[in-house]
């Protein structure tokens, strides 16, 4: 089958771009899971609401970057509120209940968005247009920038965890919540903040991704599925693994889209998930089994 080289190249770039955004979403999810053993079903909806906040702030200020920052902060606050109201009361209970609770939250948020914004998709304008040439093709600058931005945000997170004052608190709490408390670390506060950070990252992803597709209330569903797959394939709680898995899966899907329709291309990620679960259940990219 003759696929022209330029199409493969474009799909590679697309795969990397989508992969970085997916990595950003998945990082938040895996951070939350790692520290409090909660699978945040509502993560996709936080992504979606971030995009909507982006739409509104963009319409109000005309500045994409303000919209990005505003969405991150607002969704982070929303995340903190969700944690305090629904997850903190469930600490120490059966992990089943957190899956159910976050599922309930996702339903509420999804329908809230439908209620407030209606079923018609909105658009976020790209902050700047213009293409650059690679080989003999035109590829939009904007896409490259968002990939870099997503990478930058993840990088900042990593630096914060490794070297920041409170990075130690977060890492200690992730490794042993009880002893972290015994060392005077205010664990309830740490958990709230981490959830907020994860939420903020999802919100930011929504704004970054907004210009690529339309913003509507179901966009979270697709992403939560992919994010789950990424987190499992990368290894639950494994930040580096999630990033690698995100790019890997996005590239595979992008290439698959050359042959089949995008709706079917997602089967590729399903297959990767199943294979991972069969042969390396701790994660394809996990270095130490957790």
């Amino acid at each position: 089958m003759d696929i022209p080289f330029d199409q493969i190249l474009i799909q590679t770039l697309n795969g990397i771009v989508t992969g970085m955004i997916l990595a950003l979403v998945a990082s938040g999810l895996t951070l939350i899971f790692g520290i409090m053993d909660v699978v945040n079903f509502a993560h996709g909806e936080l992504f979606m609401l971030g995009a909507y906040v982006g739409v509104i702030v963009l319409a109000a200020t005309g500045d994409f970057w303000i919209a990005l920052v505003a969405a991150s902060l607002i969704i982070a606050l929303l995340g903190a509120a969700i944690y305090l109201m629904t997850l903190r009361p469930l600490l120490g209970r059966d992990p089943l209940t957190t899956i159910l609770a976050t599922f309930g939250v996702s339903l509420v948020l999804q329908n809230y968005a439908l209620w407030q914004f209606g079923p018609v998709a909105r658009k976020i304008q790209e902050p700047f247009t213009g293409h650059f040439t690679i080989f003999y093709l035109d590829y939009p600058w904007y896409r490259l920038v968002i990939a870099l931005l997503a990478a930058a945000i993840i990088g900042a997170l990593w630096l914060f965890l490794k070297f920041g004052t409170y990075g130690i608190w977060i890492r200690a709490t992730t490794q042993d919540r009880v002893m972290a408390q015994a060392m005077g670390i205010p664990v309830p506060w740490v958990l709230t903040v981490v959830f907020a950070i994860g939420a903020g990252m999802a919100g930011a992803s929504g704004v970054l991704f907004g210009p690529l597709v339309g913003v509507n209330h179901t966009m979270g569903l697709d992403w939560i599925l992919k994010a789950f797959i990424v987190v499992v394939v990368g290894g639950m709680g494994n930040l580096a693994g999630s990033i690698a898995a995100a790019i890997f899966i996005s590239l595979l899907e992008a290439y698959a889209a050359l042959w089949v329709s995008p709706a079917q291309a997602i089967i590729v990620s399903f297959v990767v998930l199943i294979l991972t679960l069969l042969f390396r259940p701790t994660g394809l990219f996990a270095s130490t089994p957790r």
């Binding site: 699978v39 089943l96 159910l100 509420v108 329908n111 439908l114 329709s261 399903f270 199943i274 679960l277």
Partner: protein, 317 residues
Amino acid sequence: MRVRHTVVYWTGFSVILALLVIAPVVLPEFWRRFLTEILIWGLLAMSSDILIGYTGMVSFGHSAFFGLGMYGAATALLSVQPPNLWLAMLYGLVGAAAVAGFVAYFSTRLRDIYFAITTLIFSQIFYVVIFTWTEVTGGENGLTFSRPPLAIPGLFSVPFTSQTLHWFVVAVVTLSYLVLRRITRSPFGMVLQSIRENEARTRAIGYPIERYKIVAVMLSGLFAGLAGVLYAVQNRFAAPDFVFFLVSGEAVIYNVIGGIGTLVGPILGAAFFLLLREGLSRFFTEYYLIPVGLIFIAIVIFMPQGLLGFARRWLNE
């Protein structure tokens, strides 16, 4: 105490059964169909209770079993003439069982969260396949077909009326309930519950946990598929929307609202939810899910035993 409970239980059971039988005669058409739908969704939720309530495995895969039951029945009713009810059931159950076996094989070795996610993914796999394989499944539009008559070949054939279909559904759901009740109280059911309480200890005692879980998933899948068949017969269409994982989510909601681990609870949960939706949709139109979602979250946090929780020990003993 136990004797008194049993008497009260069976009395209550008979009363409810009698009400369900009388209902189609007294209710207007709309509510008749509504009641039938409650029972069908209740059956789906009940099947999911086997996993959530008794074995402690949260599954989002029921939409796949339900969907395959539905499409299996559709296939039978479309490809074999004259449309045969029992064949539809057979196809549907086989389809659901096959999917359940497939899902069980891959997922049961995984613990809690991974199991939930994997079953969700499987629902989506089947969703995508059904959605895109238009030649076979009708794709986005699904399949439509006519309702088969209630027939025993060679003896009689009587087309269903809305009333007789309701009685048929009542009969199937009641039978299913009794069968499942029997199973959950059997030694097998006890092992499942012990798996829910403490999997490690059950394994340590020597039970082959994986095998029990696989059987639990298949059992659950069978009855979910049966619900799918009933739905197909009732509504005369099959659509991919029902395979989308949100449908599994709804089954889980019915379970939690009604009370997991009670078998009856899920049916009540379904009734509560659907009635609430009906009621709220007059005021909130499509956004009824917001208050319902909030109620659901509140129940998870404050009433983890569900509406039926306090009566749980009581009813099924």
